[in-house]
């Protein structure tokens, strides 16, 4: 199976999850763990960086749906950044831009969180 890995970095109040490789039904639980841990630590300002993500399947998309409500209930958000065209197309087909803020750069997303404060 293809590889997938994640890294989580805290930048101030914002946590950034970096995705790398192939996100599908088999690797999705790793990302779910990342989200769960952040929520357990009450970190609800989350940016997901897609720069190194090569592929996302429908099960991978489901991960974002699973946590968005909980995060927004706590006045937080999940913002998506730096997607390549292929990945963006998958999000776009499903209409994700209507549900999530998608930014070209990680800084933009982080600044958006900061400007709210």
């Amino acid at each position: 199976m293809a590889d997938f890995s994640t890294t989580v970095k805290d930048i101030g109040d914002v946590s950034v999850i970096y995705l790398n490789g192939f996100l599908d039904a088999h690797t999705a639980p790793m990302l779910e763990n990342n989200f769960s841990e952040l929520i357990n630590k009450n970190r609800y300002s989350i940016v997901v960086n897609f720069e190194e993500l090569a592929y996302i399947s429908s099960a991978g998309l489901g991960v974002f749906m699973a946590f968005i409500e909980k995060v927004r209930e706590n006045n937080g958000d999940i913002k998506l950044t730096t997607m390549n065209d292929k990945v963006y197309n998958i999000f776009d087909l499903l209409g994700f831009p209507l549900l999530y803020e998608i930014y070209k750069s990680e800084d933009e997303a982080i600044n958006k969180f900061k400007s709210l404060k």
Binding site: A2, A25, S58, A59, L61, L93, G95
Partner: protein, 702 residues
Amino acid sequence: MNKILSNILSRRSFHLFWILTAFLFLFRIVFIPSENFAIITISEIVLALILLSLAFSLSGLFKEVKPNPLSLVVNVGILSAVIFLVMNFSEPIVQLLIGNVKEKVKNPGLAENVISILYSLIFLGFAAYVFLVFKTLFYFKQTRNVETYFNTMLIFFVLTSIAVYFEQNEELSYISTTFYIVSVLLIIFNSLRISWIAFIVKKEKIYLLILSVVILILFIVNLVKMGGGHFHYQIISSVSLVLDRFLNVLLIYGAIYFSILFFTTLFHIPTAEAFDKKAQEVSSLQYFSKLINEVLDFKDLSKTISDITTKLTGSDAAWIMWKNEDDFTSIAQQNIGYYDAQLIHGFMLSQKKWDKLDQAKIIPIEKFEKQNELSEKYSTLLVAPLKAHGNIKGFLLAAKKGNSIFNEEDRSALDTFSEYASIAFENARLLEESIEKQRLERELDVAREVQRRILPSKNPNYPNLDISSIFIPAFEVGGDYYDFFPIDQNTLGFIIADVSGKGISAAFIMAEVKGIFESLSKVIRRPKEILIKANEILKGTLERKIFVSAAYGLIDVRNGTLHIARAGHCPILLIREGKLQDIRPEGLGLGLSFDNVFSDSLQEQKVDLQENDTLILYTDGITEAKNGLFEDFGEDNFRNLLLKFSSHNVQTITEKVIKEVSIFSQEHSQYDDITLVIIRWKQNIINNGEAEWQISAQQLKT
């Protein structure tokens, strides 16, 4: 067969024994006393035959009973004691019966004859039995073929016995002496091969030591008593000189055999204990390894293994540290609490190079700084690794309390046992895995079956529509779904959908989706409204992270008007006049949002189909089909192929595209379900024949 044969033979020989004995009595009563050479020869031959027949019947008995060497030795002891009594106490009795033996034997009457024959027969019986015992002992636990040695000895026994007659002639007596000496040498040579002694336990060896001394003394005393001039000799020699000599040789055999047996046993005694322990260890290891191979359940197996560990090493406690991901947990504790076991783990893992442990190791625990926290005071630990394919899967631990400590033997025993245990664990794991695999495969079969029943078995038949569809399930079963709803003869509804995720859960959601659209298509016409309604229904059942992409279309087959709405699905492709365009009205996937965002997002598109317009509905299983390098088949590739093949009929286009996809992905197992539906509009047909008639009929009705 052999057994039956030998049975008959021994029974026959027993009958023969009685017949011959009776004959001997008669013969001797009639002809003896006599100096005639022929008569003496016949008498000797008959006696020899009696001995043989008795030996045969006894050997049949020996084969059946299969006695152990120790009991044979005991039997010989008892017999030689009986013989000793007979020789020493028969003289007064016989004298009472027949008077002076010395004179009477030379010229015997009826009574003397009978008594001396009876007396001889007792010794003949003794000879037959003792000889068989020696034979059995000789062959016992022999690994090489030693038949020749024994048979040679037997031949010399016979020769020595017969040669007794040469002694009557001074010049020929050397023959008898030679045979006699050779026989004794052969006896010594053959008696040195006592191999069975090693296989009896220490207690029995001590017993045997005493027994062999007693028997040795009895044999020597008997030998002396048999010498010429004694009462015994007078009687026996009057009946048979050969028997007397044979008895003599046998007693010598016995004396030599038992003296050698005595010394052999004596030398074996110091090592007996170690030998016993080793033998017990080997047999218990064999028993244990057999036992653990019979236990297949992991939990039972670990319990059995720690139970055996305590027995094998004589430890006070035993347990297993089993590796989960990267830490260890204590399982199957035997006589030790979980807390203690975990504390000792910590100590063990603080040892240097514990992860390189490749054989059992004794670790003194006295230095353990948390010793006081343990509820028992343990002195030493014995640890053996449990491995599979060279990787440590866990450790087998044993601990001793107080002053007792483990020794090297315990260590090597556990070392060997841990290897058996590792194999047993691996077997149990493989079995579990294969059961789990079978379960998953059955689950997949169910999912495939669900999927197969849900999809349409044939394409709908409309005169001005050419329809082709194909569905190829992935190994893991995806959630693809397509369907046609012939609403009436003028209207065809169709759907293509893809449930997120895979496996049996996706298959069940797909079944639900079918139910929803099947019912909705009957009451609602507008694709957008159907999708909105479907989303509402799914709200109650869909898990938050599951969603469904779908596209629903409705064709009016009278005029080729297509209404289509898309909920997050791949765009519908339209090939018109050699060009490809996307039909991609906006819309969120089903289940992504249950409020107005969904209904607000949804648009419906109207397309007026032209002659030969070709609609292509597909799922991402095609565009995301992977090759050996994990590359996608690709959107562009797919579109180019569709254009390339567009002049063919819909069936051929489908086949050609699928063929290209399968060639591309042949080095990679199919990743996702593949669905491809192609619908072509045939405008011209409407102008002639049945369809037109239908329309006019319809118009007439309304």
